[in-house]
Symmetry: C2
Subunit: 115 residues, 2 copies
């Protein structure tokens, strides 16, 4: 059976506060979800809506976004308005999926889970 | 002009890890969103989709959920499946909105932002 998940990738190297990270993550999650295929959404939801939070550290987040789009996966890159903790336009997060787990892993499989 | 926001309320007293909190918050955010009125969603999105992360600590989270529902606000209570950090059925998070800011504040105005 195909497993589904959504990956929420954060730039933890920016040193964002916990509350800021949470808001950016939710922004990524919701907007990637909106871009997903209806069938994929249904499959994902029927199995508990698995979500994983990953740290990309100082690796290139935009290239992961590009790769996700090339693979036809729903993806959304969060650029911060820069009103508080980071400079305007800073990319803080990336949401990918819901989509089949193996497809997500082909793009984010080398990243560490956020503890 | 009416401002809109979504509140993501977390039980920070459970001592969840950062990654776990992020996943629970996204679950609350997405499911509250799905319950929102179409016009409210549009208004919120057209103004940057403001989200705030709040800590309810050891206060009663279920009564806030009930109050939100009584007020006709979209709300979703997250109960964890308990596979990892907390006991099965533990309420970890609550999402309220998007909705007009004043209505959200009438339910969560006494809670502290997560730093």
């Amino acid at each position: 059976m195909t497993e589904y998940k959504q990956a929420i990738v954060l730039k933890e190297d920016l040193g964002m506060s916990r509350g800021k990270s949470i808001a950016q993550a939710c922004h990524a999650s919701l907007n990637a979800y909106k871009r997903a295929d209806g069938e994929d959404k249904k499959e994902w939801e029927s199995r508990g809506s698995k979500k994983i939070a990953l740290d990309i550290g100082d690796k290139d987040i935009k290239s992961r976004f590009q790769k996700a789009k090339e693979e036809g996966l729903p993806a959304y890159l969060v650029k911060d308005a820069g009103l508080t903790e980071v400079q305007s336009g800073t990319v803080t997060a990336l949401g990918i999926g819901p989509a089949p787990e193996s497809k997500i892993d082909s793009i984010t499989g080398d990243l560490n889970l956020i503890e």
